[in-house]
């Protein structure tokens, strides 16, 4: 099986400071990988380098494209990478406002992604938007409301609908449950888990919430000061951590 994503020696520096250094991994179709670490450990820098939002200094991010097989997305032309961002890739921001157009309706937020890949029939676009809003549990009578009128949890679900409507194969998520209260988090986790299973998605999830990765991620990567200190199967890393930093991270979780 060809990995969906092959990352080789990815390094990003901010002047003299290291953002993330020498990161390498393979992600296979259907796999969900979690990236954990404290604030400033480089996990968001890494995610943004992978998704093409930041230009790394060194390394390769090779994606198995539908048309041409494995291609290094860092040396791809800008239009080709933008196209990838609208079709096979999706990015769920921690702050829904960064991933939504706040000035247009919920339906238009979802429909816009479809139009970007060539959909033109208004009735079809609206029907698909309503279908997707339903899947993320947003009632049909809210389709013409703007996201501003939505709660934080609803905005996050709308962002997910907007991202997944085009049937991407790889989803990047930056703290998707951050800032939501726990009951809303549970609902979102259930939703994400269902979508990953049904659509056979691969995903890379950055979070500092170990409970979230235990339920969603197959594999884990632990980062500290820009470097990957430990990788492995999620429950193995959490239950039998090998690196001192991971042991500290796991033992610092408060029990409820």
């Amino acid at each position: 099986m060809t990995p969906l994503l092959q990352v080789r020696d990815l390094t990003k520096r901010y002047g003299a400071r290291l953002g993330c250094g020498d990161v390498s991994f393979d992600l296979y179709p259907g796999e969900v990988m979690g990236i954990v670490g404290e604030s400033g450990s480089g996990k968001s820098t890494l995610l943004n380098c992978l998704a093409g939002h930041l230009a790394p200094d060194e390394g390769q991010v090779i994606f198995d494209t539908r048309g041409d097989g494995p291609v290094d997305t860092l040396t791809m032309s800008e239009p080709a990478r933008r196209m990838l961002g609208r079709t096979d890739w999706a990015f769920v921001h921690q702050n829904a406002r960064d991933g939504l157009r706040m000035g247009v309706s919920a339906g238009a937020n979802v429909g816009e992604r479809l139009m970007a890949v060539g959909a033109r029939h208004y009735g079809d676009i609206r029907a698909q938007a309503v279908d997707w809003l339903g899947r993320v549990e947003i009632a049909e009578d809210r389709v013409d409301d703007r996201p501003r009128a939505f709660s934080g949890g609803m905005q996050q679900r709308l962002q997910i609908a907007r991202n997944l409507v085009t049937g991407p194969r790889l989803v990047f998520m930056d703290e998707p449950t951050g800032g939501l209260d726990v009951s809303v988090q549970a609902r979102l986790l259930d939703l994400l888990r269902g979508l990953v299973r049904e659509m056979g998605l691969s995903a890379i999830i950055v979070t500092h919430d170990l409970a979230v990765v235990r339920l969603l991620a197959d594999r884990l990567m632990v980062m500290k000061s820009g470097a990957v200190v430990e990788t492995g199967l999620t429950d193995q890393v959490l239950d039998d951590p090998q690196h001192g930093y991971t042991q500290l991270l796991v033992s610092s979780v408060l029990q409820v």
């Binding site: 549970a186 888990r193 193995q236 239950d239």
Partner: protein, 230 residues
């Protein structure tokens, strides 16, 4: 007959980096093999390493040395996706605690392993209904998430989930603990059926009568405790 589970010369220590780098050796020279249709009980005092050995078989703990084979998967040294494939298709695990995504209905929780192994939604649900009924979980609870259930109900849901897919190898961690006589008999029946269809089983049973009824052999893991081996 070829063994389904083979363990040879497995060792394990825990290194506590944040407590002065203390090294705690917990196992050395562990060896066992389990054939298809056989149930082997791990025995030994608390802390002897029964759960540790079981967790290493499941790929939950890393073995430091030696070899662990389940079917044709070499657990020691496997990639995460190889372990995950093994857990979907080859090796089932009934743990003592139920861990689930909140809000997911019991029926789906139990059907999940069938679907993960490639079965249809219908096949999964049919199997889940059958097992939940056998384990006397009231039907009115099936559409609810098990997170709010009593301890005994959660354990039965956990057992139903563990037996939903016909795994060729299984790990059972105290499957009869805290069950009433009726449900205990149901669980022992499930274990006997699994053996009859050829499953290789490793179990921890504090319930000596249950052990005597379903297990063919006992392995005393205190033999593998480093202090005694030395």
């Amino acid at each position: 007959m070829e063994a389904m589970i083979r363990v040879s010369d497995v060792s394990k220590s825990f290194v506590l980096h944040n407590q002065g780098g203390a090294v705690i050796p917990v196992m050395a020279g562990a060896a066992l093999s389990v054939r298809r249709g056989e149930c082997v009980a791990l025995v030994g005092d608390s802390g002897a390493g029964k759960s540790t050995l079981m967790r290493m078989l499941y790929g939950n703990y890393l073995a430091d040395g030696g070899r662990i084979l389940v079917g044709d998967v070499e657990v020691s040294g496997a990639e995460p996706r190889e372990i995950l494939a093994m857990r979907r298709e080859v090796l089932g695990y009934v743990s003592q605690f139920l861990r689930v995504v909140p809000r997911v209905p019991t029926l789906e929780v139990v059907a999940e392993p069938v679907r993960a192994a490639g079965g249809s939604r219908e096949a999964g649900e049919a199997r889940a209904r059958d097992l939940l009924a056998r384990l006397n979980v009231p039907e009115r609870l099936w559409a609810l998430s098990p997170t709010t259930f009593s301890g005994g109900e959660q354990q039965r849901v956990n057992i139903a989930r563990g037996f939903a897919h016909d795994f060729p190898a299984m790990l059972l961690d105290e499957p009869t603990a805290s069950l009433d006589a009726t449900n205990r008999a149901v669980v022992l029946g499930l274990i006997e059926e699994a053996k009859a269809r050829g499953a290789a089983i490793v179990g921890i049973f504090h319930d000596a009568e249950a052990r005597a009824q379903v297990c063919d052999r006992e392995i005393d893991v205190s033999r593998f405790t480093p202090e005694r081996a030395a």
